[in-house]
Amino acid sequence: MLTFHRHIALFLTLFLSACAGRAPAPQAPAPTPGPDAPAATQPPAFVPLGTDGGSAIRPWHPGSAGNQIRQAIFDGAWTAVRDKHFDKTLGGLDWDGLRTKYEPLALAAPDEPTFYRLLNEMLGLLGQSHLQVHGPGEEPAAPPDEISAPQTRTAAADAIREAGDDYGDPGLLVRIIEGKPTITRVRPGSSAAGAGLRPGFLVTHIGGRALDSLPASGRALRPVEERFRLRQLAARRLAGLVGSRVSLRCLDENDRPIEVMLERDPPAARAIQVLNMSPVVPQVASRQVGEVGIVSFNVFLLQPVLGEVQKAIDGFRARGARSIIIDLRGNPGGIGAMVIPLATRLSTAPLTLGTIVYRDFSNTLATTASLGIKPFAGRVVILTDEGTASTSEIFTAGLQEAKRALVVGDTTAGAALGSIIEELPGGAVVQIPVADFKTPKGASIEGRGVQPDRRVFETRAGFLAGHDVVLDAGLDMAKASHP
């Protein structure tokens, strides 16, 4: 009579499978539902300590209070991984030995970016996704030509700031196309659009820093992983306080160099932060093209995203759609449990997506017969790219293996573990992989990604010509089943 209800236990063990802690922010939703689809805000890694245009890096003095905080952050992260990682053996690594090696180096680091880099280098030796520490001061200071505080404040920006959602971006998405950082989307009406930027332009520098390499990693990265991380790096550099500015150097359609100073626009709606994930403006967009329904969303959340996606699917069914395209390009995951109701909406027969393997027990992700649900029975096509990660991959892999969906696009990120993001002292957080994921056939997606049924190669020329070749291929596949 008096215990609190343990359906929460069920929920909690399913929840977080996002490939990003607070730092790598979810991307804007894919553009397929139409030009009116709003873009998401790209919150940055962490609020820099100095947001008034001064140094974002905390001054470092050995023996100061900062040293105690660093020690506490190191202890917290090291211990959390030891006690909560799904693999009790930590891949056979000598975890105590790594502490002996890295602790003195990290504590003596000359600045906060170096401290966090060393800590993440140690965690990186496990060679897994969902394993990172973030905290105040981790990003190097912005160059002096960047204005980090707005010079003039608009009413909209002020309203958002008061609500605590004071991060925005200039409205462009940068991905690696044919090996080069390329603008692949420009949000209509954004600062980037106003500056004349277009899909297909090549980006060389953001914020005065070259965008040609990643920070050192403790291991060799797979090609798709490199593309994924560069995409995240670009998003982080572009994001910042609403009204602040960021410089961009790029090559236009004729390879002429141009440089623009872009203002970061306010987010389209209120950002929400769930379970220590990066704040995100949830976006769901849908449209129907003939007998094909198309829905995209930028993050897996039970509230409010799930309800809107379910409504879109029900709407397609009611309007006689025979196929549905689910566009998961750039979707970094989120609440892992959302795969169950979403798959339930798309399955007329019981379907198992896979198993979440915790440290001491396992839980199956399977559709459940819910009262009042009429599932969609037609063909399902899922669009993917290198930014399709985590919960998105679990959903895609499960439906693909069950032959319930065809996958079109690029190999996914290969970052499919269940995780939690725990708070550490000093405002830092650590993301810990607390569960592995296996498909019903026992395959791991982590480190491999989901291989599309039809791989589509995107080109700069295609973006310059305004084509979305992945969506076009998806539509072809969706219509292939129609008489």
Binding site: H7, A9, L12
Partner: protein, 242 residues
């Protein structure tokens, strides 16, 4: 002393300690008395509880509200901010659950059995009646370290599902720890509950703090309001429509 003798002594040790355990019925009877006695509990007609929920270290919090009446009806509504609302109830006919993950379901099998036990009226003063059988067992290895108390433990076996182990402080006879497995559509989820902050209300004693650990996550539930014998309309317990 030969190795064989040593082994036989070691083998005999658990049996000897088990023989010293008090009978489960006696442990449960002491618990019933410690929380006010069966008579005091039997006088109650309804309960309305509000709890604050906090997911430790993970930036999530919420609330739970629970209503139950002496005729066996109950409803729990738990909400985690920006995550979702979870409902579970029994209207006298069906035991049901509604949440964003599994939708609206009539519970059956081990899930229904677990819900029946959790929602049973006056369960605390008559725990044995809810289970198929009860027996005393040695405390789990880590339990004493966890609670810092001498414990007496009882294994509670259900009609369906895995048994639970409930441990009581040997001095106060109040419950301090419970372990078990929560049935779910995806399989059993092992959990541990720790109870504390006992307070007297209207002649009975109950815990105000409950910490649940499932996998890597710990949730704390703290009672913010507890009212007995409030008038609760029957409509409160109606199962939602699909």
């Amino acid at each position: 002393m030969t190795i064989a003798v040593l082994l036989s002594l070691l083998a005999a040790a658990p049996a000897e300690s088990a023989a010293h355990l008090r009978p489960a019925q006696a442990i449960l009877a002491d618990y019933a008395n410690a929380i006010g006695g069966r008579a005091a509990w039997k006088q109650l007609r309804s309960v309305h509880i509000k709890r604050a929920l906090t997911v430790a270290g993970q930036g999530a919090s919420g609330s739970e509200e629970h209503w139950a009446t002496a005729d066996g009806k109950n409803l729990s509504v738990s909400t985690l901010r920006d995550v979702g609302t979870f409902r579970q109830g029994a209207d006298g006919h069906a035991t049901w659950s509604q949440d964003p993950v599994f939708g609206l379901r009539i519970l059956d099998g081990a899930e229904q059995e677990e819900a029946r036990i959790n929602g049973a009226w006056n369960a605390e003063a008559d725990l044995a009646s809810l289970y198929l059988s009860v027996s005393s067992v040695p405390p789990p290895q880590e339990a004493r370290t966890e609670t810092g108390a001498d414990l007496e433990c009882v294994e509670l076996r259900k009609k369906r599902g895995k048994p639970s182990v409930l441990c009581f402080d040997a001095k106060t006879h109040l419950r301090v720890l419970q372990t078990g497995a929560q049935p779910s559509p995806g399989g059993d989820i092992p959990y541990k509950l720790v109870f504390g902050d006992w307070r007297a209300v209207k002649g009975i004693k109950t815990w105000y703090l409950e910490k649940m650990t499932a996998g890597p996550t710990t949730v704390e539930g703290r009672i913010t309001s507890l009212v007995f014998d409030e008038k609760i309309p029957a409509s409160r317990f109606k199962m939602p429509k699909p």
